[in-house]
């Protein structure tokens, strides 16, 4: 582990972490000291920075779950928020490994680079990874092209998640959702109660006072827990930069084969994507602000190849990150509806 030796408030190492996609996976076990590691060791106790407070809050939440539930699980969706969640879990229980497994609900339509990244992280960090696929959906040939985003997401994500939670009997599940992402998420508690059929009742949420969390549930009920509730997109990137957290290379700009479809730029990630007669594949320099199923996730034109450039680009952006997500556009209030059905 990095030590504090040599750290001072002047030490501010934001190494150019990424030259190209392949370099992103830095060795997680020996992070370079970023600014968070450097603490003032003399004089008045420094009040914590914004990011230190967020980090402490998230760690507190994870420990609370580990102490209060018998079968917790951390949802791992491979995106940047999941990467931060994973990093925080490694911190919260150090020197032990996180005392719960990680679950990836695989829709079978994730970017190939995401799956490769997932398997590499699990091998490097040695966490317990469970992968669940809705096999009935696979058998019925459910896919985003023929069935549309609504049906695909419902069957391969929402239903698959419910299947996995029931199969393993998890009583608490961490997710990486943030309140700044979407309006119904802005309303959700950090500890969000779900009834025995995994449904959220937005009109009847438990009061959540101070940092005292009500973790009581009856048989069959469960809690979804959101340790990143109070983080913003900027906080996430700043933290990734500061802590040198590995992320999927798709976040960085690179020449990639894409097609324009339905107002979005879609990456042709494998041969399952059939082209329409008027479509043609172009090599363009693009990257992703958010990652989901490749046919449903729009790329953005960008030259940002480093974390610093991503942050700079984000700060001058005029559209929200979920704009690249087809599933949020289906109808107003669609996120709330999905959540009431058991979606994360």
């Amino acid at each position: 582990m990095a030590q504090n030796a040599g750290c001072s408030s002047e030490t501010f190492r934001l190494g150019r972490l990424v030259g190209g996609a392949g370099v992103v996976l830095s060795d997680h076990a020996t992070p370079k000291p970023g600014v968070a590691v450097c603490r003032k060791v003399t004089g008045m106790p420094a009040s914590l920075t914004h990011l230190q407070r967020l980090e402490a809050e998230s760690i507190h939440i994870m420990r609370e779950v580990a102490a209060s539930f018998s079968r917790p699980v951390m949802l791992y969706s491979i995106g940047k928020d999941s990467s931060v969640l994973l990093h925080l879990a490694m911190k919260a229980f150090y020197p032990a490994k996180p005392p719960f497994p990680f679950l990836h609900v695989d829709t079978t339509w994730k970017f190939r680079e995401m799956i490769a990244f997932r398997d590499r992280m699990a091998a490097e960090l040695g966490f317990d990874l469970l992968v669940h696929i809705n096999e009935e959906g696979v058998r019925d040939g459910i896919n985003p092209f023929d069935n549309g985003s609504n049906v695909h997401t419902h069957i391969m994500k929402t239903v698959a998640l419910r299947q996995a939670l029931d199969k393993y009997g998890f009583d608490a599940a961490f997710g990486g959702a943030r309140r700044d992402e979407e309006k119904s998420r802005a309303k959700e508690r950090i500890f969000s109660f779900r009834n025995a059929s995994h449904a959220w009742d937005p009109k009847n949420q438990r009061p959540e006072m101070w940092k005292i969390y009500n973790t009581r549930i009856a048989e069959g009920e469960s809690i979804r827990v959101f340790p990143l509730s109070n983080w913003t997109e900027l906080d996430i990137w700043q933290y990734i930069l500061q802590e040198n957290i590995p992320i999927v290379p798709l976040y960085f700009a690179k020449k990639r084969p894409v097609v324009d479809r339905g107002g979005m730029t879609i990456l042709v990630d494998d041969e399952r994507m059939k082209l329409q007669p008027d479509e043609k594949v172009e090599e363009r320099t693009v990257r992703f602000r958010t990652l989901g199923c490749y046919p449903l996730t729009g790329a953005i034109e960008s030259d940002a190849q480093t974390l610093e450039e991503i942050v700079a680009e984000m700060l001058t952006a005029r559209t929200s990150e979920r704009q690249g997500r087809l599933i949020d556009r289906d109808e107003a209030g669609s996120m709330e509806k999905k959540k009431r059905e058991g979606y994360f």
Partner: protein
């Protein structure tokens, strides 16, 4: 000041992102909430803040314009409230139901704002937002002035430890920017809050809809010389109680990956700690030293309030979750009785005598309100006598816990002085508490250790003590079956006693009526008597309607493991009313008896009774046999 057309980041800043981020890093964080009555413009104000600080993206703005036409209440203008009212029900009804959290930043500070609902029925959601805030923006409609909700929210903000208030006199445009109106409301409010202990109260004339005095001084209010809302939020000093606080570390999680490592994980509630410092375990008083402060980034020499760390101690001493590591020279109270302010959130009223689960940040214990001292009238602070606290009411209560907890008065420490109350049947969060002071009574009455024990008394009688708790509607056959069973047990040489609902009400409980409060107390006393009798080695048969799950649960918890046997005498209401052995149903149905179980007072059926007697078509003799067999099979007799 920010202007609308300027990008968040200039090109020069974007080029030197490193220094930009460094500047971000040094920003402080202010958490505040907006509160006040319905339609005073809370959501509109937040929408305005987000818009003016350019936190609204183009796609969100497009969606907002579309929504404004569909649901909006601002004519052709953008309805900013729709930005924060994110739930379908809220948008349809045009009201805020639950608290929404929003995030924005200015060049000086980062902000987390909780937009809280104004309707009285959603006060608990307002309290949720207030519990983590440092400052409250209380909105008032300039045309309406101070309303009950304005007062209620101010009182709750004060109770929950908020020290800074901005009184936003909103919709000032609708009173023609009249200075006198503003001065009048400001004076009323200051008079009202003078005893609430706020460190600062700043009234600002404002129009959230049009942006007057929100991010910049308005030309329409030349008579107002104070700061705009944003200017004030950027500069208000919230460092109320800094480092001088004594060290408090509630142990959250014991980290023991292998035999060589035993760490205590938690978040420092106050003060600071360094490796080598002496600490005391709050509940046992045992002393030790901190050997290491472990983090993922390596051991650190010291840590302070707010940090989530893992402490390794010098000595192997007993510490578990719920206990606290504290400064040896300034220890918290450890007590099982204390007085506290309570805000009640439950649909069902708070009842003295009923048992709740009390939870602090990491500890929990069963708790009852031993005395409801008074209810606080939030409009004039009058202390009113009360037998219960209804939804959204505030009161001062004495609590009695089954096990002691470590605590500080809330005014000294917001973390170690707070708790929530949980309904033990529904698991709902029904109340929030702020500790005032421990009660000394607890310290002075100790248990007298006795040499002849329950076991020895029971052994002499050759039996296993038990409490058979018969519950069911009036006329269901409880007493009949209990009576037959006692005869059988007596004939078999068992030492028994029957506590019968009607009989006890002639003596021990003759001061009690049939209100819900009195019923709770009725059961509490009977359960305590049953416990004493079981302690004497008897098999006790309790025959009580005992309609509420919470009280049956309380009775169960008073007894030793396996000693309490719940017998549900399940006779349908129609059958009981038909039998009507005492003529009570006829009178209740005519309205001559109030609070009659099954008629105008509920009976909560047991969910998991130990013995469920479905009586229809069966003889009492047969039912008593069933209970006797059950007891014999399990070694009770």
């Amino acid at each position: 000041m920010l202007k609308l057309d300027e990008p968040v980041l200039s090109d020069a800043e974007a080029a030197d992102i490193r220094s930009y981020l460094e500047a971000q890093e040094n920003k402080t964080l202010l958490r505040f909430l907006t509160c006040g009555s319905v339609d005073d413009g809370k959501s509109t104000l937040i929408g305005r803040l987000l818009y003016d600080t350019k936190l609204i993206f183009e796609d969100q703005l497009a969606a907002l314009e579309q929504d404004s036409r569909k649901h909006g209440t601002a004519g052709d203008d953008i309805d900013f409230a729709l930005l924060v009212d994110g739930l379908e029900a809220e948008r349809q009804q045009g009201i805020t139901i639950d608290v929404a959290y929003r995030f924005f930043a200015t060049p000086k500070r980062k902000f987390i704002v909780a937009d809280t609902p104004g309707h009285e029925q959603y006060t608990r959601n307002m309290a949720t937002g207030a519990s983590t805030a440092d400052l409250a923006v209380v909105l008032v409609d300039a045309r309406q002035g101070i309303l009950d909700q304005t007062r209620r929210h101010s009182v709750i903000a004060s109770l929950l430890g908020i020290r800074h208030i901005v009184l936003a006199v909103n919709k000032i445009d609708l009173v023609d920017f009249d200075a006198e109106v503003f001065e009048g409301i400001a004076a009323d409010y200051k008079a009202f809050v003078k005893d609430l202990g706020f460190a600062s109260v700043l009234p600002i004339p404002m129009s959230a809809r049009h942006g007057d005095n929100v991010t910049r001084a308005s030309e329409n209010t030349p008579w107002y010389s104070g700061p705009s809302l944003i200017e004030h939020l950027e500069t208000v000093d919230i460092e109320s109680q800094p480092a001088a606080q004594p060290f408090r570390f509630p142990v959250q999680y014991v980290n023991r990956p292998n035999l060589d490592f035993r760490g205590f994980a938690g978040t420092i509630a106050s003060g600071e700690i360094a490796a080598g410092d002496e600490v005391v375990v709050a509940k046992s008083g045992k002393k030790t030293r901190v050997k290491r402060i472990v983090t993922y980034n390596g051991d650190i020499p010291r840590a302070s309030e707010g940090e989530a760390v893992t402490l390794v101690l010098e000595d192997e001493i007993e510490v578990s979750r719920g206990n606290m590591l504290v400064a040896p020279d300034a220890r918290p109270h450890v007590a099982d009785q204390f007085a506290a302010n309570v805000v009640w959130f439950g649909e069902h009223p708070l009842m003295p005598g009923r048992m709740y689960l009390l939870r602090t940040e990491t500890d929990q214990a069963n708790a009852t309100v031993s005395h409801l001292k008074h209810r606080v009238n939030i409009t004039n602070f009058a202390q009113e006598a009360a037998k219960s606290l209804d939804l959204n009411e505030v009161g001062v209560c004495n609590f009695s816990l089954q096990a002691p907890i470590a605590m500080d008065p809330f005014e000294d420490n917001r973390t170690t002085g707070s708790f929530i109350l949980i309904d033990r049947v529904t698991n709902a969060t029904v109340g929030a508490g702020m500790i005032l002071h421990p009660l000394r009574r607890a310290a002075n009455i100790h248990w007298q250790a006795l040499d002849v024990t329950k076991a020895s008394r029971a052994e002499l009688k050759h039996q296993k003590p038990a409490v058979l708790w018969f519950t069911g509607l009036s006329g269901s056959g409880k007493s009949t079956i209990a009576n037959l069973l006692e005869k059988k047990l007596h004939a078999a040489g068992r030492h028994t006693y029957i506590l019968d609902g009607d009989n006890v009400r002639h003596g021990l409980n003759r001061d009690l009526g049939f209100t819900e409060e009195d019923r709770v107390e009725n059961i509490r006393r009977v359960a305590e008597v049953a416990r004493l009798m079981a302690d004497a080695g008897l098999v006790v048969l309790v025959s009580f309607i005992s309609p509420f799950r919470a009280e049956r649960r309380m009775a169960r918890d008073l007894m030793a493991e396996g000693e309490f046997v719940e017998v549900f005498v399940d006779t349908p209401f129609e059958e009981c009313a038909r039998r009507d052995p005492k003529g009570l149903y006829a009178r209740a149905l005519k309205g001559e008896i109030k609070n009659f179980t099954g008629v105008d007072s509920p009976y909560e059926r047991p969910e998991r009774a130990d013995i469920h007697l479905a009586t229809s078509g069966r003889e009492p003799e047969d039912l008593a046999d069933e209970v006797e067999n059950w007891l014999r099979e399990r070694g009770y007799c």
